[in-house]
Symmetry: C2
Subunit: 417 residues, 2 copies
């Protein structure tokens, strides 16, 4: 596939994140309007509420775009998703007969604020990167050996949907219980080991029924799109609380996502296989499609007052061991009802080299080997005032499918008010 | 406190679960009407949508009861909760001047179907019963020693809200991965160790802000009410999956709750203290009120075709080590935003004696010591066709605050369809 040209000329650049090939879905507001659905094209946003009310977009007998979330569209199912993408492509393509009607409905992205693009029904986080799992084992348990179930199960746990926020939302450092290995008693206070996790988030677009398992191929077709996801983590809180029932307050204070839903359709030509299975998967986890995507990922860190951010890690989503479709299939395997708007975190994405590690825990080897920023400052974990940014791009032949930054600044911990 | 008398005479019995002292909140439907909010009084249900539309109940400038859930009322906050309870008490009390207006709005409970009383925003399950934690340690790890953090943290994990269902909903046995200790590979199929967990569910009525911790007393005031809760558990799936990130598919196929929300106000006179702390709690976990309640609990089991259910366990909610208010305070301690409609499972409630254990895992000691039902049949775990029922009552002076049964029948596992 090559660049599809649009009459929105800013979209016709090989490096622009939002060419006609992408068409990601978000929610935006302007000085004169409430949050509403929009589609990014070049430097502009197509106002979908206006496009629907003027009759340019007509997908259902009732309005889908008069609400500040994309869940209504998800509910319509894959045939409508495809029809919407086809219609948007036709409206915005170079030579479109309807350019004159569409042009007044474009808003400059520079004039818009972005909001959560969908309502998160429930949030599940996985642990599907092998290098990350080995690193965490080596750091925490002194051995890179994988847990006994790791090569058989896409390990996941339920996270907290209420604390998923859109890029740009500031995050307060969490308080929590921690205990030093040699202390008699735990203490309570601000986390001293605040971290990120570089992940992709898969958004479930159509649901499943309670009690009903699904296949990997069915799961693949249920996925509406993807976002970048930073699963902020307080390693000291997590370390003391997580036995025996898993992470809880160490993960519940914030999860940031990028503001644009990049559809599975836009990523189709970037499909990539999972790596060779080290042990054969049970048959229910086998699907017919390549389930990962070739998406270049980068983490940047910017201390308070620094002029620019330092790149601290680069990796690729195709490094994962399990795909989102495999994870979703496993999620429903016991009969768990899946809902439109469910968000599945991929797990931390780490490549083989230190420079490819997707968390500060790994980059600084638990703080024992701090890394150096462009400013000359060093970091083991996050300090108050630091801004962390995730960036993601799939590179095609003369075009880019970008995600838009997933960024968040850390503020000091709050106390009781 | 003694029995408050109602002109609905069926409510004036010492043993009836729904006297005027109780006034629990549910959602019901009749042959001629959609699901709507109702309040149980004796053998009748007060139709709240009708009471509001006729002007007998007026709590806000817009309707609260034209929807099939109580979340709108929760959103109003504690002052409105108290005003509603006062108004209902006045309307239904013996000698009420408005009896003639209210009487036509009563529906016979026998003619009504009950539905989920509220929308579950998110579901969190705790592990706050000491006897249960010791039993599970002894069974699974060969030692009743508590985890190192147990006496300091009300341990909890995020569960799955989409699979919370109302009493009476049939549950399919889950499929899942299991591995025998001596097997090389796991296998996939229906769980062979299907279990219950006898719990109370606390319903969060008012929320908290992201980043903002709350005190135990604030948490106590945020709780709208309680239900009985059966956290169905597949022990074999859970046993293979839960390291290192906690329970997932072993818990995600169903959680049943009783159909009536018994308000915290109705339970006020049954407050009971938590047991003496074996280690002092950190200050943030200290509150000024007794946080447990004296509620008698019972588990019944009825095989397919048996004429009646056998009582298999009796215990009391006052056996728990941590209260719901302490759990909620801890839940928000890292800044996790809590929402109206969040459901907190207490953790399995087990007393000191075998007859007081709140799960089949404990009652049959992991299936090694099956127990005998009144029919003469024995059980280690649940068989297809078995119906499990939880029952709960707080006993006052001449009155009972009942919860209504929490029941569920197990159907065979489904396969891919």
């Amino acid at each position: 596939m090559s660049l599809k040209k649009s009459w929105v000329t800013s979209a016709n650049s090989a490096d622009h994140p939002f060419p006609l090939n992408n068409l990601p879905y978000g929610v935006f507001s302007t000085a004169d309007g409430d949050p509403r659905c929009g589609v990014a094209i070049g430097d502009m946003i197509l106002d979908m509420e206006a496009a629907e009310s003027t009759g340019l977009i007509a997908l259902a007998d009732y309005p889908l775009f008069d609400v500040p979330f994309w869940n209504e569209v998800m509910d319509q199912g894959p045939a409508v998703w495809a029809a919407l993408r086809d219609r948007l492509t036709a409206l915005l393509a170079q030579g479109s007969a309807e350019q004159a009607k569409v042009e007044p409905l474009l808003v400059a992205a520079a004039d818009a604020d972005l909001h959560m693009p969908f309502g998160v029904s429930e949030y599940t986080d996985f642990y599907a990167g092998m290098q990350h799992a080995k690193n965490m084992g080596a750091i925490l348990r002194g051995s890179p050996d994988l847990p006994a179930n790791w090569l058989h199960i896409p390990i996941g746990y339920n996270g907290r949907a209420s604390s998923v926020v859109v890029s740009g939302t500031e995050i307060h450092r969490p308080n929590g219980q921690t205990k030093a290995p040699d202390a008699d008693m735990p203490s309570f206070g601000p986390s001293k080991r605040l971290d990120i996790e570089l992940e992709m988030g898969a958004i479930v677009g159509t649901g499943s029924e309670l009690g009903q398992p699904i296949t990997v191929d069915e799961a693949d077709a249920m996925i509406f799109g993807y976002v970048l996801l930073n699963d902020w983590s307080a390693r000291d809180i997590q370390g003391w609380e997580y036995q025996p029932l898993g992470p809880f307050q160490g993960k519940a204070f914030g999860t940031s996502i990028s503001p644009w839903i990049v559809t599975a359709a836009a990523l189709e030509s970037f499909r990539a296989p999972t790596p060779p299975r080290e042990k054969e998967l049970l048959p229910y986890l086998n699907g017919s499609k390549d389930g990962l995507y070739d998406i270049e990922l980068e983490v940047l860190m910017q201390p308070e007052g620094a002029e620019k951010a330092s790149s601290i890690a680069k990796t690729n989503y195709n490094r994962m061991y399990y795909s989102a479709a495999e994870q979703l299939c496993h999620h429903a395997s016991g009969g768990c009802e899946m809902s439109p708007g469910d968000l599945l975190g991929s797990g931390t994405i780490s490549g083989a080299e230190r420079s490819e590690f997707g968390s500060l825990m790994e980059l600084s080897w638990a703080g024992r080997e701090p890394f150096t920023l462009d400013t000359g400052e060093t970091r083991g974990f996050i300090e108050d005032g630091d801004t962390l940014t995730l960036r993601g791009n799939a590179r095609g032949d003369g075009f880019t499918i970008g995600f838009g930054d997933c960024t968040g600044k850390i503020l000091p911990a709050k106390t009781w008010g």
